[in-house]
């Protein structure tokens, strides 16, 4: 009897439950449709991505090398960036990337700000503030997480660092070559900082991208003017050399092999410019091996200036300057001074870097890097050039190397 009573009671309960369940299925369907709509909407609208590197660096040398001396710095390699991509429609988009850098007092700067149009058939164009595709790492130089380094090899990446960005136009083309992809890029524009004005920049780059490796070749040229007044005056008065519209050329060849556990990347660059602008060759190579979440790396990097003789002050010119000083300086004084200035711009430097990357979680990596820097022939490399020149002039002793420790946490989000 009790059983029957329960059974009878269950019928209305079931009846009540059925429509409730039907509503739930309908709601689920609606939710799915809403999610689906949201996904296509998100594909078409605003996307926000960010990256950040927070780190510290210290050297055992009092004179700063690449901005690091024997007092710990938390700013030199720290930065944070936010990128907003707004897709107007399937063909048109606007991208802005804002980056705050520790070594610039955390001032925020627009690194990218451009309009992009997709022409179809693999062609696309950009106009606005874009990245000069000079180097292999140019386009993601700030995104520490995407590179194996706590600090990128400055021997290579210092040369054009002020000109990472330019204002101009970009035309890109990508095509399938069997299983590989070829990418070509042409840029035209202008870049300017406090010291130099680069006009009529033309940059070409070609990348062949396979599954496990890629090869990249890039050429850039520009008309270079020295606009920093003191530097321009020295070049004009002492060296009687031109300061405007000098031809400048830059080339980079890069190769990366990344099949899985093994990692290898290398790049060779050469910079040539007329007159007193330093010409330099550089290269780096990095081997790495992934062991689960760890990747130890070994890096060799070097830079060497190529036009030291051409930038020397002619003895006749030194004598003329000494004469004009009314006896305040002898010819020897002037030559010593010129040698000091030149030694601070000549380069002959090598880096051996031991690195360890630890992927704490997908999106966050801890990196420790120990760099052994050596400078040959009293050619300053990336040491502080004012301190170096002062030492030459005052017969002080310049360092022949430095050991630098860099630790950073790199994230993308």
């Amino acid at each position: 009897m009790a059983m029957k009573y329960i059974a009878c009671a269950a019928v209305p309960l079931l009846m009540a439950a059925l429509p409730a369940q039907a509503v739930t299925v309908e709601q689920l369907n609606q939710q799915v449709q809403q999610m689906n709509k949201r996904i296509s909407e998100q594909n078409n609208k605003l996307r926000i991505n960010g990256f950040a590197s927070f780190g510290m660096a210290i050297s055992d040398e009092e004179m700063a090398y690449n901005g690091v001396n024997d007092e710990v710095t938390f700013n030199r390699f720290s930065k944070m960036g936010v990128q907003m991509s707004f897709n107007i429609d399937a063909k048109n988009s606007v991208v802005m990337q804002l980056v705050s850098r520790g070594n610039e007092g955390w001032n925020t700067n627009a690194e990218w700000a451009y309009f992009k149009h997709d022409f179809g058939s693999g062609f696309s164009g950009k106009i606005g503030r874009i990245r000069l595709p000079a180097y292999q790492l140019s386009e993601f130089l700030d995104v520490g997480y995407a590179t194996p380094y706590a600090q990128v090899p400055a021997e290579t990446y210092d040369s054009l660092e002020p000109f990472a960005n330019m204002e101009g136009v970009d035309l890109s083309y990508s095509m399938d070559l069997g299983d590989n992809t070829a990418l070509f890029q042409v840029v035209y524009g202008r870049a300017k900082d406090d010291e130099f004005d680069l006009k009529d920049i033309i940059g070409l780059s070609g990348v062949l991208q396979a599954d496990t490796w890629n090869v990249r070749v890039a050429l850039s040229q520009a008309s270079v003017s020295i606009i920093q007044a003191d530097a321009a005056a020295v070049v004009t008065n002492f060296y009687q050399a031109e300061t405007e519209d000098l031809d400048g050329n830059f080339a980079s060849v890069g190769f990366t092999y990344d099949p899985g556990d093994l990692y290898f990347t290398t790049e060779y660059t050469t910079l040539e410019a007329d007159g007193q602008v330093v010409d330099a060759d550089s290269m780096y190579a990095t081997f790495g091996y992934r062991m689960g979440r760890f990747m130890p790396t070994l890096t060799y990097a070097m830079a060497e200036s190529q036009d030291d003789d051409e930038r020397e002050l002619a003895p006749a010119q030194a004598a003329a300057i000494a004469g004009a000083s009314g006896g305040a300086f002898t010819t020897a004084d002037v030559l010593t001074g010129a040698a000091g200035i030149q030694a601070a711009s000549d380069r002959n430097t090598t880096r051996i870097g031991l690195g360890l990357r630890y992927d704490m979680s997908p999106g966050a990596a801890l990196k420790v890097q120990y760099d052994i820097i050596e400078v040959d022939d009293d050619k300053s490399g990336l040491f502080d050039d004012t301190a170096w020149a002062t030492n030459v002039l005052t017969a002080g002793e310049n360092p022949d190397g430095a050991n630098i420790l860099t630790i950073s946490i790199d994230t993308v989000f």
Partner: protein
């Protein structure tokens, strides 16, 4: 007796099928999608944003969240990239304005719901979750 042998064979075959395919991811589309069977290279390219279409039909790849078994299996055994490598890969594309990683949904059931509502969406699910609502276009 003959009947029993047949039944045994069937059971064994089923069991071995199950053993072979258990805990493996397959790539699926909605059952009415025009996207057909695809090879591994094309599927990998579609999920890495290197290919925007499969057999001429544009595709919207869909990821499962980190930690889901189907995702772990798919990226480890088909794409052959670790989560950290994948993050590095996408950050290079995202921060150069070249692409965006696929949208992420919760799990097998959500992928099945999504592909059912849009013929361009492709996703991966554990093979044991395959049912009549989806069509398998790639099985490792």
């Amino acid at each position: 007796m003959k009947n029993l042998t047949f039944k045994l064979l069937t059971a064994l075959t089923l069991a071995s099928c199950f053993a072979l395919t258990h805990a493996g991811s397959v790539v699926v589309v909605g059952k009415g999608s025009p996207i057909g069977a695809s090879n591994e290279s094309d599927v990998v390219k579609a999920f890495l944003g290197k290919k925007k279409d499969l057999g001429g039909v544009s595709v919207i790849p869909l990821d499962q969240g980190e930690g889901n078994p189907a995702r772990n299996d798919f990226y480890a055994n088909v794409v052959k990239k670790s989560e950290a490598q994948l993050k590095s890969y996408w950050s290079r594309l995202i921060f150069t304005g070249k692409g965006q990683a696929p949208q992420v949904v919760g799990g097998d059931a959500e992928v099945k719901n999504m592909v059912a509502t849009n013929p361009n969406i492709i996703g991966y699910i554990d093979e044991s979750a395959v049912d009549g609502s989806v069509k398998v276009i790639y099985k490792p």
